[in-house]
C-alpha cells in the first residue's frame, strides 16, 4: 500500500503573502473619504444602461450625497440589484413560477368531491379545514399583487374587481351600472390611453388564466417580441430564447459568464431544479 501525498498547488495565488500573514490583518481597511458628485444614473438603472465603472468608486458614488429620491442605502441598492437580477419585478413569468413553488400546497385540486364539500361548507356558513386550506380566487389574485403594486405604488387607477365580486354584484343588482344597456361596448380610443399599470394588470390576469386553463404543465415562455423591446434583462427570464443566446455564446467561446450569472440567479431566487420539475397538475390526480 502506497501513500500518495497531495501535490502542492500548481497555481498559487498571484499576490505575495499567504492568508495567515499577520501583516494583512494589521493593515486597516481604509476607505478614502471624498465627495463624489452624482453624475451617473442610479445603480439599478445603471445596471441596465451598463455605465457602471470597474472601480471602487462605484461604491462611493452610491454612498455619496445625492438628491433624496435617488439616495439608496447599501441594503436598498442590493435589494434592487437582486430584484433586477431575478427579474421578479419585470417578468411576470418568473414571479408566477416562484409563487407556484412557494404556494404549491395551496393549489386547488381538480377533484370534484372536494370542491363540492367546499361549496357545501361555505353555503352552510361554517369554516371547515378543507375550506381554510384552499385559497379563494380573490386571495389567489392577491398573492401575485406585490410585484406590480411595488412598481406602480402611486397609481391612481383602482384595480379591477375579481370575478367573484363582479358576479355577486351582477346577481344582487346593488351597484349602479356605469354603461347603460343601450350603449354598445366600444373601445374607448377617443379618450386618453390606458395607463401602464392597467395594461400590466390585464396582461397578468390573462397570463394567470391561461396557465390555469391549460392544465398540462406547458411552461409559458417570454415572446421574442418582448425580448426585442426589453433587452437583456427580459431575455434572462426566458426559457428557450436564453438557450439560443447560450448557443450564440458557445460559438463565441464565452459561455462562462452567462452560466455563472444564471447559477447565481437561481441561488438568489432559490429555484432548485427539483422544485421546478416536481410541479405538475397531474400530481394531484
Amino acid at each position: 500500500m502506497t501513500i500518495v501525498e497531495d501535490s502542492p498547488d500548481p497555481e498559487p495565488l498571484m499576490y505575495s503573502g499567504t492568508s495567515t500573514s499577520p501583516t494583512r490583518a494589521s493593515t486597516n481597511h481604509i476607505v478614502p473619504v471624498q465627495l463624489v458628485r452624482f453624475e451617473k444614473t442610479p445603480l439599478w438603472l445603471g445596471l441596465r444602461d451598463s455605465v457602471a465603472p470597474i472601480s471602487f468608486s462605484a461604491d462611493l458614488i452610491r454612498r455619496a450625497q445625492v438628491p433624496g429620491f435617488l439616495s439608496f442605502t447599501r441594503e436598498e441598492a442590493d435589494f434592487f440589484t437582486r430584484a433586477i437580477l431575478s427579474n421578479s419585478l419585470t417578468s411576470p413569468v418568473l414571479a408566477y413560477r416562484n409563487a407556484l413553488n412557494r404556494f404549491s400546497s395551496c393549489i386547488p385540486s381538480r377533484c370534484g368531491d372536494l370542491h363540492l364539500e367546499h361549496s357545501l361548507s361555505s353555503s352552510a356558513g361554517s369554516d371547515s379545514s378543507i375550506a381554510s386550506d384552499f385559497l379563494s380566487k380573490k386571495k389567489w389574485s392577491l398573492l401575485f399583487r406585490p410585484w406590480k403594486s411595488f412598481m406602480f405604488s402611486a397609481s391612481s387607477v383602482p384595480a379591477r374587481t375579481s370575478n367573484d365580486e363582479a358576479f355577486s354584484a351582477v346577481s344582487t343588482e346593488t351597484t349602479r351600472r356605469s354603461r347603460p344597456f343601450s350603449r354598445p361596448i366600444t373601445p374607448n380610443s377617443s379618450s386618453r390611453p390606458m395607463s401602464v399599470s392597467r395594461s400590466f394588470d390585464i396582461a397578468y390576469e390573462t397570463l394567470a388564466k391561461k396557465t390555469f386553463r391549460m392544465h398540462d404543465g406547458t411552461p409559458i415562455d417570454v415572446a421574442v417580441r418582448d425580448i426585442a423591446r426589453g433587452g437583456f434583462p427580459v431575455l434572462l427570464s426566458s426559457l428557450l430564447p436564453l438557450c439560443y443566446f447560450a448557443l450564440f455564446l458557445t460559438q463565441e467561446q464565452s459561455i462562462e459568464n452567462l452560466v455563472t450569472v444564471h447559477y447565481w440567479m437561481m441561488q438568489i431566487t432559490q429555484l432548485n431544479l427539483e422544485e421546478t420539475t416536481s410541479f405538475s397538475f397531474f400530481g394531484w390526480i
Binding site: 492568508s19 486597516n28 457602471a52 398540462d216 415572446a223 421574442v224 443566446f245 458557445t250 452560466v259 421546478t276
Partner: protein, 165 residues
C-alpha cells in the same frame, strides 16, 4: 456569492473597526481561486484589468473588489446581447419560435438540443487539439448540461406525461 455578501454583513456588524476579519479574508481568497484563478472550474471571462484590480485590492486587505466584477460581467453580457441581435442565430430564433409566441412544444426544445450537440462536439474536438485540461473541459460540459436541464426540463417532462397513455 450571496453567502459571501451576508457573511461580510455579519462580520461588519460584529467588528468594532472597519477591518475585515481573517475569516472573511480567507473567504475572499477562496472566491478569487474559484472564479478568477487560472484554469479553475468556475473561471469567469473577464478582462485582465478587472482581474488585476481584484488582486490589488486583495493585497491591500480590502474585500470590496467583487462587486465591480458583477457590473463588469453584466456589461459584457449586454454587449454580447447586442451582437446576438445582429447575428444569424437571432434570425433563426425568430423563425423557430415566432415573433410573439409564448407556448412552445417539445420538438422546438429538442431542435435546440441537437444544435447544441453539433456545436459542443466541434468545441470538444478543438479542445483536444488545443491540449486543454480534460477536467476543465468536462467541468464546463457539466455546467452547460445543468443549465440546459433547468431551461428545458419542463418541456421534456411534458412529453413524458403524454407518453403515459
Amino acid at each position: 456569492m450571496s453567502q459571501f455578501h451576508s457573511e461580510c454583513q455579519e462580520d461588519a456588524l460584529a467588528s468594532p473597526t472597519n477591518t475585515p476579519s481573517q475569516r472573511i479574508l480567507d473567504l475572499a481568497e477562496d472566491l478569487y481561486r474559484l472564479y478568477l484563478g487560472k484554469e479553475s472550474y468556475f473561471e469567469l471571462n473577464v478582462t485582465h484589468q478587472a482581474r488585476v484590480s481584484v488582486i490589488q485590492s486583495l493585497r491591500s486587505g480590502s474585500i470590496d473588489c467583487f462587486h465591480p466584477i458583477l457590473y463588469h460581467i453584466w456589461d459584457l453580457l449586454c454587449d454580447a446581447f447586442t451582437r446576438f441581435r445582429s447575428s444569424p442565430i437571432w434570425k433563426r430564433m425568430e423563425k423557430d419560435l415566432g415573433w410573439r409566441t409564448a407556448l412552445h412544444s417539445f420538438d422546438t426544445a429538442y431542435d435546440i438540443l441537437t444544435a447544441f450537440l453539433e456545436v459542443v462536439t466541434k468545441q470538444e474536438a478543438w479542445a483536444a487539439t488545443a491540449d486543454m485540461k480534460e477536467d476543465v473541459v468536462w467541468a464546463w460540459r457539466a455546467r452547460l448540461d445543468a443549465f440546459l436541464e433547468t431551461q428545458l426540463a419542463l418541456y421534456f417532462q411534458q412529453e413524458d406525461i403524454e407518453s403515459w397513455d
